[in-house]
């Protein structure tokens, strides 16, 4: 990424072209300053005791520095530890399944005899990617509504007892439900990415392998997967960088914000959003957000460093 060949133009003066290009990009640069870099600066409020006095900057300078005390308070709230644990555990599962399942399916779909079937199935599996979590929550509700849902209809028809899916008694099901929902929504996307790499593999590799008597399984493990390695690593590094983030839609909208389910649905983002919506506690929440941003950034750098130690070519940057 950073390996830009700018050396050639070094020393030359700014040309009129450069000014024009700067002018052309000015709106976007301003956008970046306001919506990306100003919030980065805003992370510093984690070290302040926030009080509102006029606009953002006035409040910023009026608030006192308090060192790490916001973090102490934040980590003392029992919810915070719970949110931390949930966020990391869910993300670990998502990262592993988010590589394994799409790669397996992409390899399988590339081996189907019927190209038409492959195309149709792939299109169908891409559908959830285009649905918002709000819509997905209604999809799920159609199946899991306690009094009208299909699941309970089936259970009672089989002589079982209806389950109160959104109630405190079903808390044990929710980690599984959330994982399934996440797979449902992201698999199609991952499949497309990996399938594109698979179709890009030079067919002569396989021809040579067949002539040498390699089985299909050997071709998959010795040719396809090694050639997919780089893209798999990039996708994983990106996911690792978001290990402290979570999809608020998945963890809040899908369980319909049910407070009894919070022990298993509370993640950092749910915690922060709830605190923001109920107002106040800006300092405490900003400590959570600071922790989230910095650790995410550190994670991605570490992951990349490890990968580049092992194999320079596969590193992301």
């Amino acid at each position: 990424m950073a390996k830009v060949k700018a050396a050639k133009v070094k020393g030359k003066k700014f040309t009129f072209d450069d000014f024009e290009l700067i002018l052309l990009s000015l709106p976007t640069v301003i956008w970046y300053l306001v919506f990306s870099y100003l919030p980065l600066f805003g992370l510093l409020i984690a070290f302040k005791s926030w009080k509102i006095q006029g606009n953002f900057f006035e409040s910023f300078f009026a608030s006192d520095w308090v060192g790490f005390s916001n973090f102490e308070f934040f980590f003392m709230t029992p919810n915070a530890m719970n949110a931390l644990r949930n966020t990391i555990l869910y993300n670990l599962v998502f990262i592993v399944l988010g590589v394994v399942i799409p790669v397996a399916l992409a390899i399988m779909v590339s081996n189907l005899y019927s190209q038409k079937l492959a195309k149709v199935c792939q299109t169908a599996m891409f559908l959830p990617h285009f649905m918002s979590w709000v819509v997905a929550s209604y999809f799920l509700f159609a199946f899991m509504s306690p009094d009208k849902g299909v699941f309970n209809s089936i259970i009672t028809a089989l002589g079982g007892e209806a389950v109160d899916w959104y109630g405190p008694t079903s808390i044990g099901y929710w980690p599984l439900i959330l994982v399934i929902m996440n797979i449902w929504k992201t698999t199609g996307y991952g499949m497309v990415v990996y399938l594109a790499s698979i179709t890009g593999i030079d067919a002569t590799y396989y021809e040579a392998a067949v002539i040498d008597g390699a089985t299909k399984w050997q071709q998959t493990t010795k040719i396809t997967i090694p050639l997919l390695k780089q893209i798999m690593i990039i996708m994983t590094i990106m996911a690792v960088g978001r290990i402290f983030n979570s999809d608020f839609g998945l963890f809040y909208q899908v369980p319909k914000g049910t407070s009894q389910l919070m022990p298993v649905t509370m993640t950092f983002d749910v915690y922060i959003m709830q605190a923001l919506k109920t107002g106040g506690q800006i300092s405490l929440t900003s400590a959570a957000a600071f922790f989230q941003s910095i650790s995410g950034c550190i994670c991605i750098l570490i992951a990349n460093a490890i990968v580049s130690k092992i194999d320079r070519e596969s590193a992301f940057f």
Partner: protein, 312 residues
């Protein structure tokens, strides 16, 4: 390796020989059919529910085979059209406006980054790259929008924050680098065109496929967004459809909780509460434009994802 005509049947034969076995193919096919059904059935089910009569829902619940079909849910939707039409318009305005603005912002940055002679290229690459690994988080974003820009409860808050993404900028940069030849831009310059003119009159017209890709990414993102409204919009007249869908559930809960205080009888309450069918009908209205259009645009999406997945 050049494949002559003679070699072709041999290679085809080879490809036929080098396939998974028939039982494997059947197994894979079954897996994919099931997976595809899992992805599509929820949508079909919601459509069925929206077409199910109230009496059937209260008798046997949501079912794939309702006892009685009806369009009542849609006429109920029509009776509540005041808010729905408003929300629909907001969604359209945000989607169209956001896509146009986003296309300009991302494409101009992508173009500037793709010019190898640009003096600030290194700095700009960092400007785009850093937000990909390091974000300011929600709290400072919230404070900046509400206490610095003061754009909460305006259309701007639904549009601006989603307009630019480094991912889009990089896709466009890669596209401009690989498909817009330097000689074309040079010849434009020799003819006396300014960079701005070259961008708008030469580069953009020949980059329509890439613009289509990013335009699709943007418009689907805007249409599906509820988060900005959830955080920053209170004004009912600015609710996009997705947020209205969230609010319907809330308002039902509130109505039930407050019924006894505001003196509404049970019968009146039952009439006033949106039925399940109506909620599902609203879901259908939101989803159908996407579900019907994405299969046709899929190839643009895939080409975008493929470029984007290439190492920046």
């Amino acid at each position: 390796m050049a494949k002559t005509k003679k070699e072709k049947p041999v290679l085809e034969g080879l490809a036929k020989f080098n396939r998974v076995s028939m039982p494997m193919n059947i197994l894979f096919s079954i897996i994919f059919i099931i997976a595809a059904l899992c992805c599509v059935i929820p949508l079909i089910f919601v459509i069925i529910i929206s077409l199910t009569d109230k009496t059937s829902i209260s008798a046997i619940g949501y079912s794939f085979f309702p006892q009685k079909w009806s369009l009542a849910a849609y006429s109920e939707l029509w009776n509540n059209r005041e808010q729905i039409v408003t929300s629909f318009l907001i969604s359209i305005v945000v989607t169209v406006g956001g896509t146009v603005l986003g296309l300009f912002l991302n494409a101009s940055m992508g173009y500037v980054l793709s010019r190898s002679s640009f003096k600030l290229k290194k700095l700009y690459t960092w400007i785009v790259f850093i937000p990909m690994v390091f974000s300011g988080g929600m709290v400072s974003m919230y404070l900046i929008i509400t206490q610095f820009l003061y754009i909460q409860d305006t259309l701007l808050v639904l549009i601006l924050p989603l307009a630019v993404a480094s991912f889009y900028v990089i896709i466009l940069r890669t596209f401009f680098q690989t498909t817009v030849p330097d000689s074309l831009i040079e010849s434009g310059k020799i003819d006396g065109a300014s960079q701005l003119r070259i961008f708008f009159q030469i580069v953009l017209p020949i980059s329509l496929p890439a613009l289509a890709t990013i335009g699709l990414f943007l418009s689907f993102a805007y249409w599906n967004d509820w988060w900005q409204a959830y955080m920053f919009i209170n004004e009912k007249s600015l609710w996009p459809l997705q947020y209205f869908l969230i609010q319907i559930d809330r308002s039902i809960q509130a109505m039930i909780n407050n019924a006894q205080y505001i003196g509404v009888s049970a019968v009146e309450l039952a009439n006033r509460i949106p039925t399940d069918g109506m909620k599902m009908a609203l879901v259908v209205v939101i989803v159908i434009p996407i579900a019907c259009s994405y299969p046709f645009f899929q190839k643009y999406f895939i080409s975008g994802l493929t470029i984007g997945a290439v190492k920046g």
